[in-house]
Amino acid sequence: MIKIKAKDVDVFYGKKQALFNISLDIEENQVTALIGPSGCGKSTFLRCLNRMNDVIDICSVKGEILINDFNINDKSCDVVRLREKIGMVFQKPNPFPKTLYENVSYGPTIHGIAQSKQEMDEIVETSLKKAALWEEVKDRLHEPGTGLSGGQQQRLCIARAISVRPEVILMDEPCSALDPIATAQIEELIDELKKEHTIIIVTHSMAQAARVSQNTGFFHLGQLIEHGSTDKIFKNPDNKKTQDYITGRFG
């Protein structure tokens, strides 16, 4: 089933066009990987999906992005609700300089999800469990989140993102600042999370894309060159550029 449908998306930074005519369908409860060389626009596309490009003054987005058949670029779209539905995990772990508990309860608090302290405790616990962090931190929930290791911080950010039960989680190179063991943990987590969430992950690592994703889109110079099932893209791509990139001949 199609969860997100992007139609003819153009993105401009000032006068410079960063994305050209991107049309891409994203399947529900699957992992979609976006790959491509640096500066190809894959992160920009990812940020279109929860309107994070609004934060950048000079950035303008054209085209339609339908999530559950609703165009999020429409004026009537409430960005606060949209971002509640579409969570995001960033390249560099960015826990708030608050306690672990406050980090995870941040989303539920601002969206008024929990009715009582008890309910909030439960949300924090389930989110941390789903992010495979609970066992490591359950005794120090009231210590600052910035005191964790890089991998733990990133899992804390994932817990923060899933605390509001988003339908989609966007991940912008979530493992690029982590060591191989932490990376393996996150990848395992992604596999687990896709049961309940639709996941879109931007990655520089071809191997990671092949390991975690079911679908892959290949971006190059602001164009979506090819997209399809990960198996097909990696084993038998239609486009020569895709072939070259995947076999490491450029990029």
Partner: protein, 461 residues
């Protein structure tokens, strides 16, 4: 004469630089590799020129007056003069030699004046000879010594380090000197006025001490109830409090606006405009407070049936607050801007609005820096003088009514030290005691502020 000599030495320095570099080039042209760049050889020679000159000049400055004095006064030894009388004779001699002596000229003094002049000219010419020969000798020695493998870079670097060290030492020594001059006068003051009376007395009326005839003996009992500092400490903190009530909200909100809401263009113009406020001399704020705000408040108060003094704490504090706005707004703008963008992104991505992000993420993260900027603002408010002198009056009322006039530590120091001073008098020393307490208060505030700011820095850098 000294100026010509000095210019000549500077010229010698440039010449030695030139010769040093030239020798280095000559060595280089013989295909030998130098241990340092040619200009280091030049600097090296210039230093060899500067150091002996500096040493000889300082020695001369220290010893010449003493030796000349000894020699001049040696004529008067064994004649039973007291030290004070000898000093007087010497001063007369110097005045006569400058042609400024107006009293009766005795042959003795005329003779010593001639001796003084001849000694000075001997000293001067020997200084020239010694300095120049020392420079030439040392430069020549150094010039001969430099070769392809002589070390010139290290001495030059060491010399620069020593110069920079001396500069910072001068700043530190000045501070220490000021503190010590405060300390000694303060101790003298507390010998007459008990510390207890000063710290807990509620009546400040230094004018009472002004009427004392300095020929009378010092009687501590006449100062009881004169130097009670409570009213002026209270006034200082009260006016500072009013100022911060104006400066903190406005400064902080404008800082947040500039950092988070203002577009690049607005920020580009608004920030310098706000910082212009910091460049206005405080005396201008002073007459703004005294001539515009004060009378306006008085009229406003009268129309509402309130009694407002023309020189009210409110006028002084309010204008002082306006003066402090740019400090708080600019510093808090800086700390808010330095909160990493990734934290903002994290919060927005969770669906937080701009104001929620500021309230829940950015403000707490920037809080230590903001507190630091507020404390710096407070120490400025406490140290501010001109506005208070002009707008809040000089009568040290113990009051918490912002519509009455009160006075501050700084204003009282001005009152005490304006006009003719008798040093060693408790009323003058009172100013030092006040200065000392002011120094201690602002020092503590600055230390706390710097600590807080430093703690904040460790977090993000």
């Amino acid at each position: 004469m000294n100026l010509i000599l000095f210019t000549f030495i500077v010229l010698l320095g440039f010449t030695s630089y030139y010769f040093g570099r030239k020798k280095a080039y000559t060595i280089q042209s013989t295909k030998k590799r130098l241990t340092a760049l040619p200009q280091f050889y030049g600097y090296y020679l210039a230093i060899w020129c500067a150091i002996p000159a500096f040493i000889i000049f300082s020695l001369w400055a220290i010893f010449e007056p003493t030796i000349v004095k000894l020699l001049v006064l040696s004529d008067y030894s064994n004649q039973g003069y007291l030290d004070d009388e000898l000093n007087l004779i010497y001063e007369k001699t110097k005045a006569l030699s400058r042609g400024q002596f107006t009293g009766e000229i005795t042959p003795f003094i005329e003779a010593s004046a001639e001796k003084y002049l001849s000694l000075r000219s001997i000293a001067q010419s020997s200084k020239v000879v010694i300095v120049l020969s020392a420079i030439i000798a040392s430069v020549a020695y150094a010039y001969k010594r430099i070769s392809s493998n002589s070390r010139t870079r290290e001495p030059v670097e060491k010399f620069l380090k020593a110069v920079l060290f001396t500069a910072s030492l001068a700043a530190i020594l000045t501070t220490v000197g000021i503190v010590f001059s405060l300390i000694f006068q303060t101790i003298d003051f507390f010998k007459v006025i008990p510390l207890f009376d000063f710290v807990f007395g509620t009546h400040w009326y230094p004018a009472k001490a002004f009427v004392r005839d300095s020929s009378e003996a010092l009687d501590p009992s006449m100062y009881s109830d004169t130097f009670g500092a409570v009213p002026i400490f209270a006034g200082t903190f009260f006016i500072a409090f009013i100022a911060m009530c104006v400066a903190i909200p406005i400064g902080l909100m404008s800082g947040i606006y500039l950092a988070e809401y203002a577009s690049y263009k607005v920020r580009q113009y608004a920030k310098p405009l706000i910082e212009i406020l910091a460049g206005i001399p405080t005396v201008v704020y002073g007459f703004f407070a005294a001539l515009t705000v004060g009378p306006f408040l008085k009229e406003l108060g009268t129309s509402m049936g309130l009694e407002v003094s023309a020189e009210s704490a409110l006028a002084a504090g309010g204008v002082m607050g306006i003066m402090i706005i740019p400090f708080i707004s600019s510093l808090s703008d800086d700390v808010i801007t330095s909160v990493p963008q990734s934290l903002r992104d994290g919060s927005y991505a969770m669906g937080a609005t701009k104001s929620e992000t500021i309230k829940r993420v950015i403000f707490p993260a920037a809080l230590p820096g903001i507190v630091g900027s507020i404390l710096l603002g407070v120490s400025r408010a406490i140290g501010e003088t001109m506005i208070v002198v002009m707008a809040s009056g000089l009568a040290a009322n113990l009051t918490l009514n912002p519509l009455e006039s009160t006075s501050t530590i700084t204003a009282q120091i001005v009152v005490i030290l304006i006009g003719d001073q008798a040093f060693g008098d408790p009323k003058t020393q009172a100013a030092f005691a006040l200065g000392m307490s002011l120094f201690l208060v602002t020092l503590c505030l600055n230390i706390v502020a710097l600590r807080v700011v430093k703690k904040y820095r460790e977090k993000y850098e």
